[in-house]
């Protein structure tokens, strides 16, 4: 029987001798955190040895890095927000429980497959200290889960999610408001498939939070935009007369999902992309796009193209504008959805979404666009 399998806090040393880390890092840790580590040393040692039994790849360095780099900023922020010492210890326990599991799942820490959850712990959680103090388990796990989702959707924008959450999260009055805000920000940051739920969530938030969460520019109001977003995934007030709205998907070898250039199909009002024997549901709107693997139900290929769109060689004429396909041409499939034409081409793994609204006769509209455009 070994005496100390993983020696966590003050001495999260694992195979090292107990006390190594304490000596190496004590100068970088705050007195409040050091005190907790000293007090809870055995408990954290145990928790990490348990985590290592579930995740054998965990090393003592992972534990040390977690405590020093990932957890310390949060605990310091909690201590600075006047959390009582006994409460701080309980909060730290919860954070260690979740953090050890997140590290084991490679969501957090130096060996994480993506850096976003680690950034969340280090930079965003300290800003959310007062909410974590009130609901530690919920805030830590739920925000970690939400951040991890960005890793599974290549076209999403985790940096934007973290930036907005860090900036606006502290303004949430409580956990429920933080959850609502998170839904809106996640949608704004590219998780387009959550559009319906996020719109509902936005209805329960004050405009003072929704407007910065959706990065609505001066001169626009949430109430007006709310109506437009309800009516269209691509409201004219946001996309203006831009012809090429966005491109969705890319070659699997470059981090996308398609093995070969996709072909489009429609099912009711849904857009389906087929590629290499797989089928994907395309979810896209003004804030972003995501692809979701589905069973191929054999929906007929989309071919309908509505006026005033004309496909001619390397060009797609949309209203009064022309979109040059260049080397991607020729068009292999197309599907019309409202004022959006989706096309695929022979030499590209992307789905092109084109704006078929003819704005030539319309009065001058705002041409501000969202980030993905």
């Amino acid at each position: 029987m070994s005496n100390v399998s993983v020696d966590a806090p003050e001495a999260v040393a694992g195979e090292r001798e107990a006390g190594d880390l304490g000596r190496a890092t004590s100068s970088s840790l705050s007195p409040a955190f050091t005190s907790i580590l000293r007090e809870r040393r055995h408990a954290y040692n145990y928790r990490w040895s348990e985590a290592r039994s579930r995740f054998p790849h965990l090393t003592s360095e992972d534990a040390a890095s977690f405590f020093v780099n990932d957890l310390a900023p949060l605990i310091d922020a909690l201590a600075a927000s006047a959390v009582q010492p006994d409460q701080l210890e309980l909060l730290c326990d919860i954070a260690v429980d979740v953090g050890s599991r997140a590290t084991g799942l490679r969501l957090l820490g130096v060996n994480a497959s993506q850096p976003w959850v680690t950034e969340l712990w280090r930079n965003t959680f300290p800003a959310l200290a007062h909410l974590i103090a009130a609901n530690p388990l919920a805030v830590i796990t739920e925000m970690s889960h939400a951040t991890a989702q960005f890793s599974t959707h290549g076209a999403s924008r985790p940096q934007q999610w973290l930036r907005l959450l860090t900036a606006l999260g502290p303004q949430a009055a409580d956990l429920e408001q933080l959850r609502l805000l998170g839904k809106v920000i996640a949608w704004r940051s590219g998780l387009a498939h959550y559009r319906t739920g996020a719109l509902t969530a936005a209805d329960h938030l004050p405009p003072s939070l929704v407007e910065p969460a959706l990065e609505i520019h001066a001169g626009q109001s949430w109430s007006t935009l709310r109506v437009a977003l309800q009516e269209s995934k691509w409201p004219a007030s946001l996309v203006g007369d831009t012809a090429l709205l966005t491109k969705v998907g890319s070659f699997r070898g470059f981090g996308g999902v398609f093995l070969e250039p996709p072909m489009l199909a429609t099912h009711d009002n849904d857009l389906i992309a087929r590629s290499g024997g797989d089928a994907w549901l395309v979810s896209a709107d003004v804030f972003g796009s995501t692809l979701h693997r589905i069973d191929d139900d054999g929906s007929p290929a989309g071919t309908t193209v509505e006026e005033p769109t004309v496909i001619l060689g390397d060009y797609v004429f949309v209203g009064s504008q022309a979109v040059e396909l260049g080397a991607a041409a020729p068009v292999t499939s197309a599907a019309q959805q409202g004022n959006v034409l989706a096309i695929t081409t022979k030499n590209s793994h992307a789905i092109w979404l084109l704006n078929t609204t003819d704005t030539a006769d319309e009065s001058s509209d705002e041409s501000e666009t969202g980030e993905p455009l």
Partner: protein, 539 residues
Amino acid sequence: MENPFRRLSKAPTNPAVHAPSAGLAAGDRGTSVAAKRKAFDVEDLYRGPLLDSAEESGELDLDEKLRQAYFWIVNTAIISPHYDIEFHDGPSAQFQLGDSKARLTLPSGQSYSSFVLLPLLTFATRTKCLFIGGPGRGKTASALLMGVLAGYPAREIRRGMQHGHPQMTIADLLGNPLPADLVSAQSMTDIRIAWRSWLGMRIKVIDEYNRIPTRTQSALLTVMGDGYAEVLDQIYECPESAWYLTANDDKGGGTYAVIEALRDRVDVTVQAMSFNSRFLSTLLERVESGLRPEDTLPPEIIFNEAQIDAMGTQIRAVAVPDAVRRRIEFFTSQFEFSESAAVAFEYRTKDTLRLAGGDSSTTTPLDTGRDRTADLGCQTRNGLSVRNLMTLLVYAKAIAWFRGSDEVTLDDVGQVLPFVLRDKLVADTDAPFFDANENAPLRTDPIGWLRTLFASSCREFDRLDLDRVDPVLELQNQFELGLDGVSEADVRKRLVSIEALINEWSRGRKLYGHLYDDLLDLKYLHQRYTNYLRWLETQ
């Protein structure tokens, strides 16, 4: 013949907690286009692998599983018809019986037997529970069941159980150095220890701990308090465990007096109740079946390590609302103050008196002017420690979680408080309060006394209307907003407010425990503002 111990309720044990929830059920999800689109539930944003896998896979919620365990134990394993932890869901029928007008309540809410519930909460929170009561009342059997609930075979728990006896040595308790190493070792570090296997178990049972010699008790204290064992400079780190100790006497009697530090490490004390003769038929059924409950625990209610971890995490996450926390603070503040214990304001405490070898019962009468019957502080010989308060918070959260709530109620606190503070808050039975005829039985009923004490404290809190008018809380809240950007004029204004409040209180008001704590808090705030003001002046 049907195994009577395998019966497990299929119905939710607390239906109110398990009402069907709105939204998409797991079974509705699929990968067809329509199903996929329907499955875009924005709540999924917050779901993921960081919670316990059992929860994710749709197994029983852990609180429901623990309730299943509770009802299995209470209905089939340990025959316990005592529902002494009462919760009320609307009006409850009450009856007065006998010459003493003994009150019998039929609770309208789901109520529990402390002898089963508190050990289970100890199991879930990995704390320490002491069973007290006469021989043969199920103390050891109950501890044994907790071990089986944790997934240990009954035989292993029995073997791991430490039986206190007057000749028990540290080596008996912790382990022996290997004889070969003792002979050949060149240094202490070369001596390997054959640690006793119970040290590595997550359920630790110490039977009759008050029969252990004092020196061995000190070694036990290290294991209980600090989670490691030490023999000849060798250390064994123990896993986090739930502890169950038994004693026939809760006053520290037995072969050896239990050292104070060890008694202080006990988190809850539970009394084994007497056997109700009406349940003899159940006992007969058990004798005739030849089965022992611990050998037949239904596997559905056995918890694995990850689940026990998850229970602890979930319990710690239960919220304590400010209103409940304030009542706990108010209750706590009643007891430490002793007006005549010292001259310096900060040292006017019962602990000062204790350290000087004094007795609060002899000095309390010197505290003139206060109503010694109404002053709750006069009923105790000591105050509450930080450890006591932490334990109280943990168990209050645990019982709230067990009942399916995500926040603690005042009822939760009131029900666990007597079991946490039994033996911790010592009654001064010479106090005038106990002289009243109706209170005399409370001298021998610590649970009843502590319940009465907490109820009285809450009544006093209400009488003072502290929920609405609490100037100290206002000042505290103002301070907790932070000092950044607070101007010199504002600081001076706040200092004047503090001084004005103290000045108002000094005009003829008697000094009670809660005021004493408030005054110390005001002094603290005053000092923080004074320091800040000094800093501002230097800028």
